[in-house]
Symmetry: C2
Subunit: 499 residues, 2 copies
Amino acid sequence: MLVTTDPRTATTADTGLAETTTAEVAALTQLAVSALPALEPLEARALLLDAMAAATLARRDELVDVAERETGLTRARLEGEVGRSAFQFSLFAQAVREGSFIEAMIDHAAETPLGPGPDVRRMLVPLGPVAVFGSSNFPFAFSVLGGDTASAIAAGCPVIVKAHGSHLLTSSLSFEVLRDAAREVGAPDGTFGIVYGQRAGVDLVKAPAVSAVGFTGSLGAANALRAAIDERDEPIPFFGELSSINPLVISAGAARARGEQVAQGLFTSFTGSAGQLCTKPGIAFVPTGADGQAIVDSIVALTVDASAQVLLNDRISSSFEQISGRLRAAGGSEIARATGTSDGFAVAPTVLEVAAPELGAELAEECFGPMLVIARYDSVDEVEAALWRIPRSLTTTIHLEDDERSIVEQLEPVTRATSGRVVFNGFPTGVRVTWAQQHGGPWPATNSQHTSVGVTAVRRFLRPVAWQNAPEWALPAALRDDATGIPRRIDGVLTLPAS
Amino acid sequence: MLVTTDPRTATTADTGLAETTTAEVAALTQLAVSALPALEPLEARALLLDAMAAATLARRDELVDVAERETGLTRARLEGEVGRSAFQFSLFAQAVREGSFIEAMIDHAAETPLGPGPDVRRMLVPLGPVAVFGSSNFPFAFSVLGGDTASAIAAGCPVIVKAHGSHLLTSSLSFEVLRDAAREVGAPDGTFGIVYGQRAGVDLVKAPAVSAVGFTGSLGAANALRAAIDERDEPIPFFGELSSINPLVISAGAARARGEQVAQGLFTSFTGSAGQLCTKPGIAFVPTGADGQAIVDSIVALTVDASAQVLLNDRISSSFEQISGRLRAAGGSEIARATGTSDGFAVAPTVLEVAAPELGAELAEECFGPMLVIARYDSVDEVEAALWRIPRSLTTTIHLEDDERSIVEQLEPVTRATSGRVVFNGFPTGVRVTWAQQHGGPWPATNSQHTSVGVTAVRRFLRPVAWQNAPEWALPAALRDDATGIPRRIDGVLTLPAS
């Protein structure tokens, strides 16, 4: 029997859930294949996504209750996250109705410079059943009810989730929410599945019927899954969101003009959700000199006064201590450590300091939890060089004043090359879910060009099919000559539906 | 010194070209990185692509001369292929000017159901230098002057090509064409590079500065490159077009109504370019009974009367004999073999026959060259079952009459699931280069969702970057508020430029 642990007290309880067997995994993936045709019509997907949004909101309190016990995250944070999950389902429903993501294209038969060309029509179709591996730190928005699930359904793909071992009961209840939503709109049972246990996760990615994997988690877990996928006869895409240090740069001008405000924002950003966010700023570049020192002093004061923070599980808590030790050994000098205590899997928010020229990959190891490394710099050249030296990230943040354009110009090549989102005068935590969002970055931030936040996440689970000289009746509705209400590219010209 | 071989005579000659050293490969990849900024403006890419098209056409005769000696392909075929290469460059120039492929999106700061949302803007930016490995069978359109090169430049990525060992001098001359085009429009030298030799190819995919690989060739060569890529510290995408059997189905109605026409078309399709096309129909499903037998008889007669055909190189010629032997051993009964002779690396066009229920993966091994396996079937059920049993393909073709819709309905799920292009009443060879084209398919046809023919090939070499709350002056031109002349999605609404 699988157990659940309350990280606030380290007490465990039986979940009543058993590890899914190899035979059960195989049956679930076959059932998922049988659900594909029902998800073919765009309107069916949209109705299902709407139902998923409504079902999620309807059970918000229940979901938050169980997640609070399993994660130790605050109710306010968890309530917001349930809202975000529901919003994601609704946003994807909108995107499905808008329909441009299927990339319908029609090239009529024509004389071309290379001779007569046949009629060719193309659209994106679902890849097939998608396996989803959520993360410990977002029990809703990056788990069973998360963006991978929403975007796979929008693509027309049935979903089988591997329940995260750190929130099994939350996963089980979330799955009930999805199953009920599917039943309400008449979607087949194979639309959603869930498996429990590490071995079942490996069975899942090896199952021939599984067509793609969406993953959010650690590099180590990703490598283990990658190895299992490599044993398949047929390779499948593995979309992973992995590891990120998220450097943040405070300019001399910003330090002078609004150092205290930036210091408070930075403290909130690296300690929010106990520092367990993939977009947590892990390194802050602060200028040497008095203005920079004032920022450091503020952060130190806020940190020393803080309480210890409860982390999601024992493993994350031990890793925090181990990685903290490695960062100190690599030259990070401890300048602040929280003095308040807490029970359970609690660790003390900590700030280390280093000179920017000393900053390398060893001091840029991601430390999941309330840890900040402050790198003091004398010149923007030092910042630029350090940004090239450290691992790539989901985000880079720059605080600067309007009269410091030359700093942006100097840092633009490195920020664009080394991260997927560049934040100005704000903080990287708090990711807006919207069309233009990009939550990904060069390796090791992610292992693929496109990832799981924002509407374009849907593209991961689609593949193109072209029809050549097909009779009208043999074409999917979206590719017939008559108007379909979705944007299409016709003979090379992008054409919007009449509104 | 590397040698070139005339496959029509099997005579070799020195090329004057040396294998590129490891140090030279490293220097070329660094030079490529330095060329990135010059390819940033869309208009710079379009002008370069226009110049590439013009330079290719201007040297058509010279290119055909050398390729004829190195490949044994006919002048008519090679002239058409040079035209296709030039057309591809022009088509990508148009696509770059149209600009929708960079997917510019703007979400203005707004109140959202989840609270205040920051301004987020996103577009696709070049991945970085791209390594291109062309194929032996298309010395222009899938080689130095091919679709991978064109789409990478359209994406803003410098290109380094590994010269194919089977057409080294063609590659060298093609590279001159590209280099001259780049110089003409003032693009930096790092825009294009070329390396020679197997070891240099491995060095290339391992070079830290290389960001993606485009490959067209055999499964074996792909696996060797994949293993080299797996040794990198940072993984990079590997887009491969690999292996395809391209089943073709002739319905009872089509056999009755136009059997002779289909037979002649099929003979031309499997023997054109000596059967060395990735879209060659390798298996034809022909009904049992008199109408089907008439088709088989026609193909047998055409084949027996044919001459032996010169293949591209010694390796392909030996493989043809080996695989032919395996197909016979697996139960393929030889019903026709060309009787005319030829010099050099020549093989005899061959037709095998089997009963459809006997057709499995062993009889569906791709045999590059003029080989056709005819599978005789009693019922559409037999065809459907066989299509699920054999490896996935780039294409599936169906010949049928208008009153046979039920056949399409029955085969639609399997054709869509197992191929990337479904051809009606035609032949899969001869791929129209256009927006809606899809030249890819499930593994082992390709190893990725998107491949190298058609405008959407460009998407492989791009990655998204988002800017959050960036001041207007810090944004790329395509993401500023003022109109830019390209389609953009603004606050979720796809918006076309005023025409």
